[in-house]
Subunit: 213 residues, 4 copies
């Protein structure tokens, strides 16, 4: 039996579907993760370019948008276990361009910027309260890395009560093995998988329907 058949036989992988109020999160598309010499590589840059188009759609539709950055204090005061495991994170300080969002996706005023120090956008941040306040029920997830901060954010989104939709061509990883393995796991247990084109079509159809009412 193929591995995917085991999950199918046990009833995994049902669809959540889009809800009534989607929001976009762009996880850690910062210069340091767009640079193969730092934390980048693999299909990350291609995912950034695809996300540019999705961000445009969200802005056009006036939907809530959040960006995340990983930022640590220069004096080491907020050094944590994640940094012990990955010491180069110490360089992601406020003033280092490596921690700044890539120019292709520069936030505009009013878009939330979540500064975090762990993998998940939810952990140690007030991202969840922003989602609740905006009555978001669906979190469209993009960013990097698929097997790292994106996955941690998706698992937490599900647990916090927000349906995660993982945009398969808007997420990237420095290595393709972990990328594909995490796509599989998330599709079975935590998120719906959709391409950017599918998400765009669904959101646009929703917006048309709302305008017609």
């Amino acid at each position: 039996m193929a591995e995917s058949d085991i999950f199918k036989a046990q009833g995994f992988g049902q669809k959540l579907g889009l809800g009534e109020q989607p929001a976009l999160v762009i996880v850690d598309f910062v210069n340091g993760f767009d640079d193969p010499a730092l934390f980048g590589g693999g299909n990350i840059h291609a995912a950034i370019e695809e996300t540019v188009l999705l961000l445009k759609t969200f802005r056009a539709l006036g939907l809530p948008i959040a960006h995340t950055r990983t930022v640590f204090a220069a004096d080491g005061s907020d050094r944590n276990l994640f940094m012990m495991k990955v010491p180069a994170l110490a360089g992601m300080t406020e003033d280092n361009p490596a921690s700044h969002i890539v120019p292709l996706l520069t936030p505009v005023a009013g878009e939330l910027i979540v500064k975090k120090r762990d993998a998940s956008a939810f952990l140690g941040t007030d991202f969840s309260s922003w989602l609740a306040r905006n009555r978001v029920d669906t979190l469209i997830a993009t960013g990097c890395t698929t097997s790292g901060c994106v996955r941690a954010t998706v698992v937490d989104a599900l647990g916090h009560g927000y349906r995660p939709i993982l945009v398969t061509d808007c997420v990237g990883d420095r290595a393709l093995g972990p990328h594909h393995a995490s796509l599989f796991d998330m599709g079975q247990k935590y998120a719906d998988l959709m391409t950017r084109a599918e998400v765009t079509a669904a959101l646009t159809a929703d917006a048309r329907r709302a305008a017609a009412e």
Copy 2:
């Protein structure tokens, strides 16, 4: 370049090491996950048998022990998104033996039993406060599934400030592909990987040292 070399070049995968106060968590080793017709299969049963030995060590050393179970209300009142994604979870009610801890690992009085409704043992529970109260700094993680509830628990442990040690032969998954992919990811980003024999030797040496002081 091999994928593991990319991570190595970027400085991932450093060791956290054992701290001063370890605790054991046994994630979801319940009958339903020991049954291939329900949520089980793969190397889960073998991991249960290996965990019996580790539990014995923790009890002998008098170290803190926690078990987790996934339990939902019979009336559907706490139905959540995880259950939408995996509908068979609805059967994991208090009275269903599928939700009970496997007989080989039956908790004894005083061991914490965390009832949860999401993947992570931390989400929607007071597991974290139990760890803090016991001044735990190292969480020895066992259970199933490696790519599901164990991984979610390990990611949260790191984020909450507790060093995760993943016991590689005491964790199992219904399919080996996801099992190995998650071992790799966790070893690079979130946890130290040790065998049961290595953990046992380290804990026993610590205990001897403490007794000698």
Copy 3:
């Protein structure tokens, strides 16, 4: 200058208003808190009787309803700091009628029952994910005690992104000094204060408007 004038001059005490999706939470109206020999007294019983009417309204309108209970394990495994501060909480075990919801407010199938071990209904529970999943934006808060579990729940509701409305005649405390002091603090900083009659009128008007659309 009267104390309330200091708050007024600094701009405290603005109204949040009711949002689009209210839910009711009934905090710890259990037998042990309806018994002056245990944790009760003061105006708690009167608040229970008033809450019976509000619960009826919520049921008639089909709005989400949650009850909380404080429940500890009989074997002491989940003993925490709250219990160190208030040792009699150890008696609030699953089987002790003191921990059961008062007969006047017995939950019906489908109403959420949050079992907690701290003051706030949010701490160490998945109450927040239930609110998010139901797209609740307004939490109508009743229960006891005003200065204890109700206040802790209200402060957390605000922080989690749900507007708290404190129903002044549906909350009670074992002593009136703390009751009134907490009403004041919450009205200035964390919640809108409304009577049961005001909440009922507002919800009924909303329902009529929705039906007319």
Copy 4:
């Protein structure tokens, strides 16, 4: 029966005692809360002056120290419900001196600075993981206001597994009624109350004992 006798008869107000690893938190002693024209007044300035002495003790003993600031984004992107209730909080931006820690208590490198947007230092921050990582078991709480951010922080500390010690002369409020009411509530349910002199004596005695071993 006096109100305090009701609490006594029901067993409230037991002592937690100091644990083995205390940390200091100084809540929101920023210029805006030291200014009666903004958020200050009452006994806040006196509490700041007393806290200067306690901070000196903590630095001399090399114990972990955290400061909190309330900081909102200038573009309104992180506007939340707390700000709806207290609109003047919108002015507490990164560049506004009102949000800066008072000169008497300026942090030195290595001391944690928690930027928060709600009352509690725990909500939407990674303060808890810093405490866990440092194996703190006792949180010595100072700052302002007693009935606001200090109380919310103390309630959360207890719930997260850290014993709160409220330093009665190092906390202040813009009005004395709420100050005293919250001291009473916290002493009964959430924290031990000690003066600065008592805390200093206890910490110094602990340090001497440790040095003698």
